[in-house]
Amino acid sequence: MRYRLEPRPAPSRAAGWLSPFIAVAATMLIGFALFTALGKDPWQAFHVFFVKPVETRYGVGELLLKAGPLMLCAVGLASGYRANVWNIGAEGQLTMGAICGGGLALLFHDSTSLLLLPAMIVAGALGGMAWAAIPALLRTRFNANEILVSLMLVYVATYTLSLLVHGPWRDPEGFNFPQSKMFEPAALLPNLLEETRLNVGFLIALAAIAAGWVFMAKSLVGFQMRVAGLAPAAANYAGISATRTIWLGMLIGGACAGVAGVGEAAGPVGQLQPSISPGYGFAAIIVAFVGRLHPLGILCASLLMSLLYLGGESAQMELALPSAVTGLFQGTLLFFLLASDVFINFRLRAARVPAAGG
């Protein structure tokens, strides 16, 4: 008896909903095997990885704190991915947002104005948009592949930040460390929950989720972008501008990532330093897919991904496992998701092999 894949007449919605759960379960199984292979008690490892980090109030705060930037980046990316605009440089746009927003905080370092923080967030959004505008422009004017351009710009943004904190923005009293001055309270996001580091950045992320849902599900432009992604020929025939779709997809992604960058600089980091994000921009690609490019799905997926980050840290401390295990789980999760997505468009059928030797 052999099995073969048979195309479904119409994509299965149920398979689409089920696939992230299958992927999570399969990743857990791999984790179980990995922990066992490394000579750890898998149940204890699971406890350390998935339960221990959120046992305390502080831990829950950390979970939400890390979920915020993931949510922001992923919801921005998803609106592009739905339109087949492949922005994979959110990490660079995030960095540029941190540079612009953080630069403003350093420029008005002694200000106590209530306007400083909103201005920083706007500057961060604009910085992210400007960085995303480069691949959009090169794609629409010069037909250059946006995947490669947006990715190359990640390196350029990282080096720019490094240049700034090693040079002009270095704190003169910082013992020669490549760091800017610490931001003053007027430039820091206010705390949201006592005894945690959670700040109002999380509310901004939730607002972005809500706005993303309205945009994707209820607005005409959002609908047009979905059509452009699902059926480019039909979109073209209906007069939906491909250029505008690319610009919108890139700019929305850039703005969201830029705000996430300010949120890091004005939140848990509190200054500018060479590394602003532990790869949130790349992890957000996985969050967007695991969340089915849907804002509510992204909300759940970002919590899961945040738990993976915390679990990695906790496993490093408690089990002496390298925190790189987080990256491994992130990649595995996406693989299993893509694999189980096959059942959206295909079903498994037992095929009778014709008698051999005819």
Partner: protein, 306 residues
């Protein structure tokens, strides 16, 4: 002239990882499959080769391990995209993210390990010849191997029947299927070959070019290799030329930093990435040339039942 010979040797050395990775990706893309996982496969190839070289004491075992590891990772990509019809862009990205994580995980034990790398050919008397000696005989064995690989790939694609079949499948898998070519099997082989080449590119970096392991040591070369295939409008000769051009750019930034040029090192480090963006935009501007040269089915899944 001696300086010139020295620079030429160094440029070839810097361009070689791009030659391997981009030629492998070229073959994969010629069959109509876009694998964005080059960076991940290179990193896994690098860490595997380094680990095996450190454990066995023989860098050539490391090279073999790097090739195997790259091919193994590309097999995951092949199963997902060719058998399970997953989106090639998303799967390629997943491969890169996974490879970065996996190599960091495996490589932790090897961070400050020192190994004996593969040395340039020791034909001392010949390399000692004036001018020609160094240019012809002074390279690393893996540099010569990359040129052999180039000749083999060029010959295979344009001078053999299987090469013709591969290109036909890249243009129209439906037609190739209709005249009886095993589309999926040939695409599997093309993906595995690309993975093996990426693994070899990583191995070259870790056991020959700079014999050490550093997390993320490929530094975006996998992505530059992908861009190179586009620059080269899918032609092997131009891949070779582009790889050495970028080798030269990278080398120039190293030399400038070492020579104490009064420019911040970060600006110099940015240069290869900025150059990639600029060249990509200039070449892609001619949309017709891209459309005519790109394999027509590039990135599209193929299922025999339609």
């Amino acid at each position: 002239m001696d300086v010139f010979a020295e620079l030429l040797v160094l440029t070839l050395a810097a361009g070689t990882p791009l030659v391997y990775a981009a030629l492998g990706e070229l073959v994969t893309e010629k069959s109509g499959v876009l694998n964005l996982g080059v960076e991940g496969m290179m990193l896994v190839g690098a860490v595997a080769s380094f680990a095996v070289a450190a454990k066995s004491g023989n860098p050539w075992f490391g090279v073999a391990a790097g090739i195997g590891a790259g091919a193994a990772l590309s097999l995951v990509f092949a199963v997902l995209t060719l058998s399970l019809m997953a989106n090639q862009v998303a799967t390629g990205l997943a491969l890169s993210l996974f490879g970065i994580g996996l190599s960091a995980f495996v490589g932790l034990d090897y961070v400050s390990v020192v190994i004996e790398g593969i040395q340039p050919l020791g034909i001392a008397t010949l390399a000692g010849l004036p001018i020609v000696g160094k240019i012809v005989f002074g390279h690393n064995p893996l540099v010569y191997l990359s040129l052999l690989l180039f000749a083999a790939i060029h010959g295979f694609l344009y001078r053999t029947r299987p090469g013709l079949a591969l290109r036909a499948i890249g243009e129209s898998p439906q037609s190739a299927h209709a005249i009886g070519y095993p589309v999926v099997r040939i695409r599997y082989l093309a993906v595995l070959f690309g993975g093996a080449c990426s693994g070899l590119a990583g191995a070259y970096l870790a056991v020959a070019y700079t014999p050490l392991w550093v997390e993320g040591m490929t530094a975006g070369r996998g992505w530059i290799a992908l861009a190179l295939v586009v620059f080269a409008t899918w032609r092997p000769w131009r891949v070779l030329a582009g790889a050495y051009l970028f080798g030269g750019v990278t080398l120039a930034t190293f030399q400038a930093q070492a020579g104490g040029v009064a420019v911040p090192s970060q600006l110099l480090s940015m240069l290869p990435y900025v150059a990639t963006i600029v060249v990509l935009a200039v070449i892609s501007r001619d949309a017709t040339a891209i459309r005519l040269n790109a394999p027509a089915s590039l990135g599209r899944p193929f299922h025999p039942d339609g």
